[in-house]
């Protein structure tokens, strides 16, 4: 697996839900990223059946937010995986699914507390989940969010940020 340039893989994707506008461009660019051609029009016109977005926008009324794999510290999907396909990188903590090993038992889907693992459509049996676009400088969903609602940042600085915005709201 390719590593991100500079190996800053402790960064994670977070959503500022107050700025998620529900446009779903994150989903669209995720699909393009994981398509064969990586070309948006070709991917959608010819390859769509084969690709699922690995980020999902949840929406109720005017509230919406994009969610993808949280790369949990105690990832239950890794524990539940019967074939050893679901692995957690010891250095970076990124959880990835080795698609060659995946047998499609869906144990990971059953245990995922966020519901962010889905059946990959291509062969039917592959579990499909966010891989943090490790070969990109920043994940495509973050890069293409028109309102910068998605952030790709280190956990600590992020926590501070989130706390700040929450405190501001309370005031």
């Amino acid at each position: 697996m390719q590593e991100r340039p500079g190996d800053d893989c402790m960064k994670r994707i977070y959503i500022q839900e107050e700025y998620c506008i529900g446009c779903r461009l994150c989903e669209i660019y995720c699909q393009v990223k994981h398509s064969k051609s990586k070309k948006i029009i070709k991917a959608f016109k010819e390859e769509l059946v084969d690709i699922m977005p690995r980020v999902l926008v949840e929406e109720i009324g005017y509230n919406s937010f994009a969610i993808q794999c949280r790369h949990c510290a105690d990832a239950p999907c890794v524990e539940a995986c019967i074939s050893g396909a679901m692995q957690k990188n010891k250095n970076t903590g990124v959880v990835t699914c080795d698609e060659d090993k995946c047998v499609g038992c869906w144990s990971c889907i059953m245990v995922c507390p966020y519901g962010v693992i889905r059946r990959g459509l291509s062969s039917g049996k592959i579990a499909s989940k966010c891989d943090l676009c490790v070969d990109e400088e920043i994940p495509v969903c973050v890069k293409n969010c028109p309102n910068e609602a998605l952030k790709f940042i280190e956990k600590d600085e992020d926590k501070k940020d989130m706390m700040r915005s929450k405190n501001e709201k309370k005031k």
């Binding site: 500022q16 779903r24 309102n147």
Partner: protein
């Protein structure tokens, strides 16, 4: 109801080869123009609802959309323009006053485009602002009649001290401020972007007449609070949370007209900020009912000075009308520390179209006339002049200053920096860019971090350009340009226009 004479103004052109039916356009349009048909996997567009805001076009990931003015044409008629016809159809449908938003789009002469700025050649050197200091800092407020100094007679320390007590001043790092736009007419995120950009750049934003949200109190040092005819949200805390107070008499887009914020927009937050019950219409009367003369205005000015402990400049904002010069003179004599003049093309969140397009005079002529009059009367130093009403670029700003303004207000330009596409539908409350709306689904489209960044960039860009132009003219401080009309020349203007502007025609030397 079947007969509908109103026609669509715009046409959405969708390139089917590029459209991937991702439905971003469907989700982004608050006017429900686009609709997805799942049976056919196609998106249909209802042109009649399109307002031409270009939100869908901007967010379309494949560039499949193009918004064009519809080319369906009425029979050519010099007298009855398509605008006249459309307005009559709309009015015959509704029976009401036609509303509109933003500044007038009618083809009145834009004098900025008929004025040229000077540069140095041979006889005086130009200055390179990247290598030499260039001062664009300016101060708003009353200046003393004369300066008195106290000399220290001590032989060892011959320092000189200022004896004159200075009046309170606003210190601007650039002669550009954000003009009054109330919370209510624009969203909280838009207000926050303006406030935060003003505070980071060292300039000021104006609350407008809608009070001040408590979350914005922290920007107090860069806030001008407004007191308008409705007195919404005005109490002593509010006055003291500003660095200056502005009494709003009129606004360029609608001189002589009050305001009306419909009850639907008066949400819980806005009702708290405006200090009115939730869901009630916020009606600003046309006049201040306690100001029927210059003497009455003086009373309010001094009441506000008293309430703020004489620590802040108190100014008056008026729209540019026919007698603007004597009006401004009266305002200065009434004790105002600055006079804001808002010209014909100034923007608004909602105004009757006929007022916006037919009442008032252009800001260029008003600033020139007011500066001239105050100089003649020897009271120019008693108040600063702020020019507002469609300052579109740094060159407009610098020309305004050369005509006699101390600083300019930008409103529309600031909104455009945040995404506004001038569709002029602010009054509908359906702003797709999250600016002129209170709908929580739409307001979150303006991330204040992005808004602040873009406004800062705009201020920075304009300030750099002002420095370049100043340097080119061989001037190293904005104060030296103020009212320096020798640096301006008119082009294609009549003698009368040149006289009012107080400038020579291009080609005339001194």
């Amino acid at each position: 109801m079947a007969l509908k004479l109103t026609q669509s103004e715009f046409e959405t052109e969708r390139d089917e080869n590029k459209c991937i039916s991702c439905q971003v356009c469907v989700r982004q349009c608050s006017n429900d123009v686009h609709e997805y048909d799942s049976d056919q996997d196609t998106i249909y567009s209802d042109n009649l609802k399109c307002v031409g805001c270009h939100r869908c076009e901007s967010l379309c990931p494949t560039g499949a959309l193009k918004i064009k003015e519809r080319d369906s044409q009425f029979k050519t008629n010099y007298n009855w323009s398509p605008d006249h016809l459309r307005n009559i159809y709309r009015q015959a449908d509704s029976g009401g006053v036609l509303l509109t938003g933003m500044g007038s789009d009618k083809p009145y002469t834009v004098y900025w485009d008929r004025i040229l700025f000077n540069a140095s050649q041979v006889t005086n050197p130009s200055i390179d602002p990247l290598r030499e200091p260039m001062e664009i800092k300016t101060f708003i407020g009353r200046k003393p009649d004369k300066l008195e100094f106290k000399k220290n007679k001590n032989l060892k320390n011959k320092s000189i001290k200022l004896k004159t007590k200075m009046y309170p001043q606003l210190e601007l790092s650039t002669p550009i401020m954000f003009s009054a736009m109330s919370y209510g007419s624009i969203s909280f995120n838009a207000c926050k972007s303006l406030a935060s950009a003003a505070s980071q750049f060292g300039t000021y934003y104006n609350t407008g007449e809608g009070g001040l949200h408590k979350d914005l109190y922290k920007y107090a040092e860069n806030t001008i609070v407004q007191v308008a005819s409705g007195r919404y949200g005005v109490d002593v805390d509010y006055l003291n949370k500003g660095s200056a107070v502005e009494i709003k008499i009129g606004q360029g887009a609608k001189p002589g007209i009050g305001g009306h914020l419909p009850g639907e927009k008066v949400t819980e937050d806005i009702s708290n900020t405006r200090m009115i019950p939730e869901g009630t219409d916020a009606l600003s009367p046309a006049p201040h009912h306690d100001i029927y003369s210059i003497e009455d205005l003086a009373q309010l000015i001094y009441a506000l000075k008293e309430a703020t402990d004489w620590s802040k400049p108190v100014g008056v904002k008026v729209s540019a009308v026919h007698n603007i010069a004597p009006i401004a003179s009266g305002i200065v004599r009434a004790g105002a520390d600055f006079v804001t003049i808002d010209g014909l093309r100034g923007g608004t969140g909602a105004a009757p179209q006929t007022i916006r397009d037919n009442v008032g005079i252009p800001i260029e002529l008003a600033v020139a006339a007011v500066d001239e009059r105050l100089r003649e009367e020897g009271i120019r130093h008693k108040a600063s002049i702020i020019a507002a009403g469609s300052i579109r670029s740094s060159s407009d700003a610098i020309k305004a200053i050369a005509l006699g303004a101390d600083a300019v207000y930008i409103g529309t330009a600031a909104l455009i920096a945040m995404g506004c596409h001038l569709c002029q539908k602010c009054y509908t409350g359906k702003c797709n860019w999250g600016i002129a709306t209170q709908d929580p689904y739409l307001t979150k489209r303006l991330n204040p971090d992005i808004g602040t960044r873009r406004l800062l960039n705009l201020l920075r860009g304009w300030s750099l350009e002002i420095k370049e132009m100043l340097g080119g003219a061989g001037i190293n401080a904005i104060e030296s340009l103020k009212g320096n009309r020798e640096h301006l020349r008119g082009i294609g203007l009549s003698d009368r226009e040149l006289t009012v502007l107080g400038i020579k025609h291009a080609g005339e030397a001194w």
